[in-house]
């Protein structure tokens, strides 16, 4: 796109009305050069600096040949993007599955004649799940502790995960649990002790 204006690379500031410094002096040395960039200031708000912006040196700040890892989260620049605060919470993950789909898993208990099935989505977290199991199977499961597992209780809840391993219920965050749990098994306390003291 051709520009019809001839562009001077420098401004003729001697012709301006106002200057810094005393009148009559040539204070062009005092001026900061027109090409000064204050990008550093702006960029200091951001956690990532990329080499897309024009920089005179050829090297990137994060090491020359390393591929930059995509940032997990960006520090937010104040007031950017320019939207009003009441508009900031409109994100809803796309619902690709129908609302009613549950996560049904079989629950077996040692010594019980038949299995049960429960919907893991119906529980908000471990306490609710364990309570429900206690009620369903009429037993007590007791307190979970990271060190001891369910030591001290008659029964321990375990589950088979996606890899086919039997895990103790409670070790991983709830969201991770319900997405990896394939089936539940309530083990007798004596058997479970082996799992719990495994450190």
């Amino acid at each position: 796109m051709e520009s019809k204006v001839t562009c001077e690379n420098d401004l003729n500031f001697k012709a301006t009305e106002l200057r810094l410094g005393l009148p009559g002096t040539d204070d062009s040395e005092k001026h900061t050069p027109p090409s000064v960039r204050s990008n550093k200031r702006a960029l200091s708000h951001e956690t990532t600096e990329d080499s897309r912006s024009k920089s005179n040196s050829g090297t990137s700040d994060f090491g020359d040949d390393e591929k930059e890892a995509p940032p997990a989260a960006k520090a937010q620049v104040v007031g950017w993007p320019p939207i009003r605060s009441y508009r900031k919470n409109c994100f809803q993950p796309k619902k690709t599955e129908p609302e009613s789909a549950g996560i049904y898993v079989k629950v077996s208990m040692d010594g019980a004649p038949y299995l049960r099935k429960i919907d893991l989505k119906g529980y908000k977290g471990y306490p609710q799940l364990l309570k429900a199991l206690e009620i369903m199977f009429k037993l007590t499961i007791g307190q979970y502790s990271e060190r001891e597992g369910y030591n001290g209780s008659d029964y321990a809840p375990t589950y088979e995960d996606k890899d086919g391993d039997w895990m103790l219920v409670g070790d991983v965050p709830w969201e991770m649990f319900i997405s990896s749990c394939k089936r539940l098994r309530i083990m007798k306390g004596s058997e479970a002790r082996g799992l719990g003291s495994y450190v």
């Binding site: 796109m1 520009s3 019809k4 204006v5 562009c7 401004l11 500031f13 301006t16 009305e17 106002l18 200057r19 810094l20 001026h31 900061t32 027109p34 090409s35 000064v36 960039r37 204050s38 990008n39 200031r41 702006a42 951001e46 897309r52 912006s53 024009k54 995509p70 940032p71 997990a72 989260a73 960006k74 937010q76 620049v77 104040v78 007031g79 950017w80 993007p81 320019p82 939207i83 009003r84 605060s85 009441y86 508009r87 900031k88 409109c90 994100f91 809803q92 993950p93 796309k94 619902k95």
Partner: protein, 581 residues
């Protein structure tokens, strides 16, 4: 040459001249016209409340009935103006209470409005009928209760995007049973509940009600009753648009909408559930304006609704609409004049939706009347901007926000200078422009050369040097408002174009490279400007003078330095210079 018309005749003639600019022109013809005009001017618009003082306004225009005031700079919307900066309306109200007992209308934007101010309004003006508060803050629903209770002839009460402390004191119930005058009631920005029975009774007895915009505390099952009581509605903002699927509610809603044959504008739709949208279909053919920007519904459902609205002129929507939805918009809505697409996930690193520059290109191709665009997206190309510019030379407002600062043309990795250059070159009537993406001084050269009608320009993370700012200030003849953040613009362009600043309403610069020294010089040399340095870190005196100041707000004024500056704002004028000695 003496005019032989008596004053009354001239006054009568002037009464047909309502436009501010025309009125201003009339007042400049001669002294007697100035005098006649000032006595019969009834409405005034003050674009910057600090450009003039209440006393000056009242002295010149003794018989105003309608006053509009704007306070904080636009960037206050994005939290760039610290709390306590100013924009207080109370001094205006208290002065007007004396001078304008017959005041009827007050429209305020970005001002701090307290309950005391609202109470004073409600008690001082016997014929008060119109209160519009946009982007205001500082009041509670108690203030609204006072307005409702005391303003006997209230016709319009509109709250747009205000921050209101909701005391849930049933402010709506304070409208007396005798109040039947409401024409417009709008409160979508309030958080709290309103009394449904009070609302229904109010709507029933205000038979002239044309605009009703609810907040999201009003559930969907209350809507049919309200609509049935107001079949004359032209503008409806729903409350929450969600409920379990209940056939009787759906059919009641459908019937209620069908009864409002005059509806032209729909908004609200918080938490919208797609299955209830078809209840609006019966009136969609008449819809000119649709605000779905709170509706987190996906593209297919959005498209179904839009296809019902062939006469749509304005659409505000979230980027859930995606490119395919915008394609559908382009084929269906040939009368479209304004499009705003807001980001659903502005802080997400990756795009959560398939909305790109393509959507905007499609709309620019398919909608010949498109004039006004606000578009948030994550990628843009010069090619797309060329196409948009070529398709739509009639654009008057073009605000593009590419979410990543300094994002280049994603195809060529070049700056977007040429693309925006095409916009300003082709769109000769462009009044408002917001830039984003990777931009060098070149884009400002294009803007200074071509954007001769441009009145408002917003710049962020752009440019290389003072040359950029110089191009804008020296080239844009119609420029009134300039707001800049995070650009390497400094002293030279500002000082070289100091007199330009007197022809503008205001200039905002934050996180740029302007020195305290330059601000002082500007403030001292330009008495008709208020040069205000805003710095929450402490006095700019406490740092080397050559270091950049944090924020700068310059505006022309005939009222001198303001008296309500907080501790973090310094006026650079001559009289204020003593502060620093």
């Amino acid at each position: 040459m003496a005019y032989s018309f008596p004053e009354e005749v001239l006054e009568h003639v002037f009464s047909f001249i309502q436009d501010d600019k025309d009125r201003n022109a009339v007042s400049l013809v001669c002294k007697s016209w100035y005098e006649i005009e000032r006595w019969c001017r009834r409405r005034i618009f003050v674009g910057n409340c600090y450009a003039v003082s209440p006393r000056i306004v009242m002295r010149r225009f003794p018989e105003l009935r309608s006053v509009s005031l704007k306070g904080k700079p636009h960037f206050a919307d994005f939290n760039l103006v610290p709390e306590g900066w100013g924009g207080y309306v109370y001094p205006w109200i208290s002065a007007m209470a004396e001078a304008y007992p017959w005041l009827e209308e007050l429209r305020l934007k970005r001002m701090v409005v307290t309950d005391e101010a609202l109470e004073l309004i409600s008690r001082s003006f016997k014929n008060f009928s119109v209160l519009v508060l946009s982007s205001c803050e500082g009041f509670t629903t108690d203030g609204l209760a006072a307005i409702a209770a005391n303003c006997r002839n209230l016709r319009v009460l509109e709250l747009w995007e205000c921050e209101v402390d909701d005391r849930s004191g049933n402010w709506l119930s304070h409208f007396p049973e005798s109040c039947t005058s409401l024409v417009s009631l709008s409160f979508p920005c309030l958080d709290g509940e309103v009394s449904f029975s009070a609302l229904e009774r109010l709507v029933s007895r205000c038979t002239n009600l044309r605009t009703l915009r609810l907040n999201n505390s009003v559930p969907l099952d209350k809507l049919p009753n309200l609509l049935r009581r107001a079949p004359q509605l032209v503008d409806l903002g729903t409350g929450a648009y969600t409920a379990e699927l209940r056939p009787e509610l759906y059919s009641k809603l459908g019937d209620a909408f069908a009864g409002c044959k005059g509806l032209k504008s729909l908004s609200g739709f918080w938490e919208a559930v797609p299955s209830y949208l078809p209840a609006t279909y019966s009136i969609c053919a008449g819809i000119r304006s649709l605000n779905l920007s709170y509706a987190t519904i996906q593209s297919p459902d959005l498209v179904k609704l839009i296809r019902q609205c062939p006469n749509l002129q304005r659409l505000w929507v979230l980027d859930y609409i995606e490119d395919c939805g915008l394609n559908a918009l382009a084929t269906t809505c040939k009368d479209l004049q304004e499009l705003r697409v807001f980001p659903s996930d502005p802080f997400g690193v990756e795009a959560n939706v398939s909305l790109t520059e393509q959507g905007l290109v499609s709309v620019s191709e398919g909608c010949p009347k498109l004039q006004s665009v606000l578009y948030f997206c994550r990628q843009m190309s010069n090619a797309a901007l060329f196409t948009i510019a070529r398709n739509r030379p009639n654009l008057t407002r073009f605000r593009l926000c590419i979410i990543e600062p300094r994002a280049p043309d994603y195809l060529t990795l070049q700056p977007l200078d040429a693309g925006f250059g095409a916009i300003v070159e082709n769109c000769k009537d462009l009044q408002r422009l917001s830039l984003s993406g990777l931009l060098t001084d070149r884009v400002f050269e294009y803007i200074g050369t071509h954007a001769k009608k441009l009145e408002m320009l917003s710049i962020a993370f752009a440019g290389d040097s003072d040359l950029g700012l110089h191009h804008v200030l020296s080239g844009c003849n119609s420029l009134r408002k300039l707001e800049i953040r995070d650009c390497p613009f400094g002293d030279q362009a500002l000082l070289a174009n100091a007199s330009k600043l007197e022809t503008m309403r205001s200039l905002w610069m934050s996180s740029c490279s302007v020195s305290f020294e330059a601000c002082k010089l500007l403030g001292q040399k330009m008495p008709s400007l208020n040069v205000e340095v805003i710095d929450e870190r402490g006095s700019p005196e406490s740092r080397p003078e050559s270091l950049p100041i944090d924020k700068l707000y310059i505006y022309r004024t005939i009222a001198g330095p303001r008296c309500d500056m907080p501790s973090f704002v310094w006026n650079m004028g001559e009289r204020s210079a003593l502060r620093f000695s």
